[in-house]
């Protein structure tokens, strides 16, 4: 009946895409951080490498991961489209513009912060995702004596097995897997990567302090009780705990391991 413009061709529709993909990416960060906390376990990657195999081979997780890649791409493309439209909405800029008097720095520079995060994501995906999927990480074997619970670790050759294997021989559990943990350890011995990761997490922090609450404003949430909760989560969970949690990983491998 309506002959008004389709939602996704409208300004609010495009903002809705930004909001929904943004919130989905925020939810992913929670899972990603909790899973990666296994990097802090001092078990030579025993838990982490099994987790990495599970996350890349369990079908429901794979479906979600494709949704995730689509969200990242959509979020970036819509950001670009909206930014170009916003630039076109003010063809002649101000000679003097005092933005600091009326808004926060990070809210005005979401595009720059987002670009830093996108470059980081490309680096991050190459370092771990691409190398993991293209046989560029070492292989490892864990032999756990089921009687004593002691685990022996050794690097093995790729030709001996295919991808991932769990067997029990003579009361000894043998797990062969790709050693993503080793790859993490290797990457984070590079001070350049460590610095870049920490700076990217700072950008993520500023991006999410504005982005998380902004996403809910776009969805139309304005509530006396819930908005302060959203703002609290945006600052403390997404702006502080999550970026610091991630930043600690390269720092841990560089300074502690």
């Amino acid at each position: 009946m309506s002959n008004s413009k389709p939602v996704l061709n409208s300004s609010l529709g495009r903002k809705l895409i930004m909001s929904l993909t943004g919130i989905f990416l925020c939810l992913f960060l929670i899972v990603h951080l909790i899973g990666n906390l296994q990097l802090f376990k001092n078990d030579a990657g025993y838990a982490f490498n099994q987790y990495a195999y599970f996350m890349t081979h369990f079908t429901p997780i794979k479906v979600v991961s494709y949704l995730l890649y689509a969200s990242i791409i959509l979020h970036a493309i819509y950001a670009l489209v909206l930014t170009m439209k916003n630039k076109a909405a003010r063809p002649i800029g101000y000679a003097q513009f005092n933005g600091a008097a009326n808004s926060k720095w990070n809210s005005r520079n979401m595009g720059i912060l987002g670009t830093i995060i996108l470059v980081f994501l490309a680096t991050h995906m190459y370092n771990f995702w691409w190398k993991y999927h293209n046989d560029q990480v070492p292989y490892v074997e864990y032999r756990t004596d089921l009687a004593t619970g002691e685990t022996a670790v050794q690097e093995i050759q790729a030709t001996e097995f295919n991808d991932y294997q769990v067997t029990v021989e003579n009361n000894v559990e043998i797990i062969k897997a790709r050693d993503l943990y080793k790859q993490v350890d290797f990457a984070f011995q590079n001070i350049g990567i460590v610095i870049f990761y920490v700076l990217a997490m700072a950008a993520l922090s500023f991006h999410l302090i504005h982005g998380f609450k902004s996403a809910f404003q776009t969805l139309g949430v304005s509530h006396k009780k819930y908005v302060p909760i959203i703002e609290f989560l945006g600052v403390w969970v997404f702006g502080i705990i999550i970026p610091i949690g991630f930043a600690l990983m390269p720092l841990y491998f560089y300074f502690v391991k």
Partner: protein, 259 residues
């Protein structure tokens, strides 16, 4: 006694929307600190007229902060360095002797410069005409208070209705977005029973028109709210989004737009 001051003005001069503009430096001499900013420009213009030069063209009308006509981005801020006032309510005591003041028009593709500092804000009128109205039956005058409206709702609708359509929200927004204005105009009716008849087509029609005028997209920086002379709140934008998505996703059959 009023203090007097001399100022250097860097004023945007532009013949019309077809020509390119530029900044022109003009000295404002012997300005009393109890003048309003517009009175200061009046003094400068008298001086320019006496010298046979073209006076600075700027918008103004009521000069008491209720009409929304005066504009000007002064030293990088719409309506100047104070909060919650229009340019006519800004006094020269907010500046000091010897100061340089940069004066620019509202900058937005949807607000083309007519001349110097005056911009064409009829895009706001067209958004309002697209859906910012209520249909009222003719006939006898209804009794007052026959439609019960909770005080809280009435107050909120009233606060939204205090928008004077000056365009400071667009001027302050880094994206030149008009969403604070449009959301205030949608809210003042969406909240009240009298506004329900056109409720869902209103949100769609006004947002379609806003997009067609070439305003930018809100990124929730809050600059509009901070610079609004009437304190229109960002919660209006959240309400506008609810109205629009509600219409689009849940009320499509109920909506009959005229355009």
């Amino acid at each position: 006694m009023a203090q007097h001051m001399n100022l250097t003005l860097k004023v945007w001069r532009q013949k019309n929307d077809k020509t390119k503009g530029k900044f022109v430096t003009i000295q404002a001499k012997d300005i009393a600190d109890d003048m309003s900013f517009l009175e200061m420009l009046d003094v400068v213009n008298e001086d320019l007229t006496r010298k046979g030069e073209d006076p600075i063209y700027f918008d103004h009308d009521c000069r008491e902060g209720i009409c929304g006509m005066c504009s000007l981005v002064i030293n990088g801020r719409p309506h100047g360095p104070k909060y919650g006032i229009t340019t006519c309510q800004l006094h020269m005591r907010s500046f000091h002797d010897g100061q340089t003041i940069v004066i620019e028009p509202w900058r937005a593709a949807a607000f083309p410069v007519l001349k110097d500092l005056a911009v064409d804000r009829t895009s706001f009128d067209r958004i309002q005409q697209a859906g910012g109205y209520v249909n009222v039956n003719t006939g006898g005058v209804p009794d007052a208070n026959t439609i019960p409206i909770p005080k809280r709702i009435a107050d909120e609708a009233f606060e939204s209705a205090t928008c004077i359509g000056c365009g400071a929200c667009v001027a302050a927004c880094k994206n030149a977005s008009a969403m604070l204005f449009v959301s205030a105009k949608i809210s003042q009716f969406a909240l009240l029973p009298q506004g329900q008849t056109e409720r869902y087509e209103r949100a769609q029609a006004m947002i379609d028109q806003m997009d067609a005028e070439g305003f930018g997209n809100c990124t929730n920086t809050g600059a509009c709210e901070a610079e609004c002379p009437k304190g229109i709140k960002l919660s209006n934008i959240a309400r506008m989004n609810r109205e629009y998505f509600g219409a689009k996703f849940f009320r499509e059959e109920d909506v009959h737009t005229h355009s």
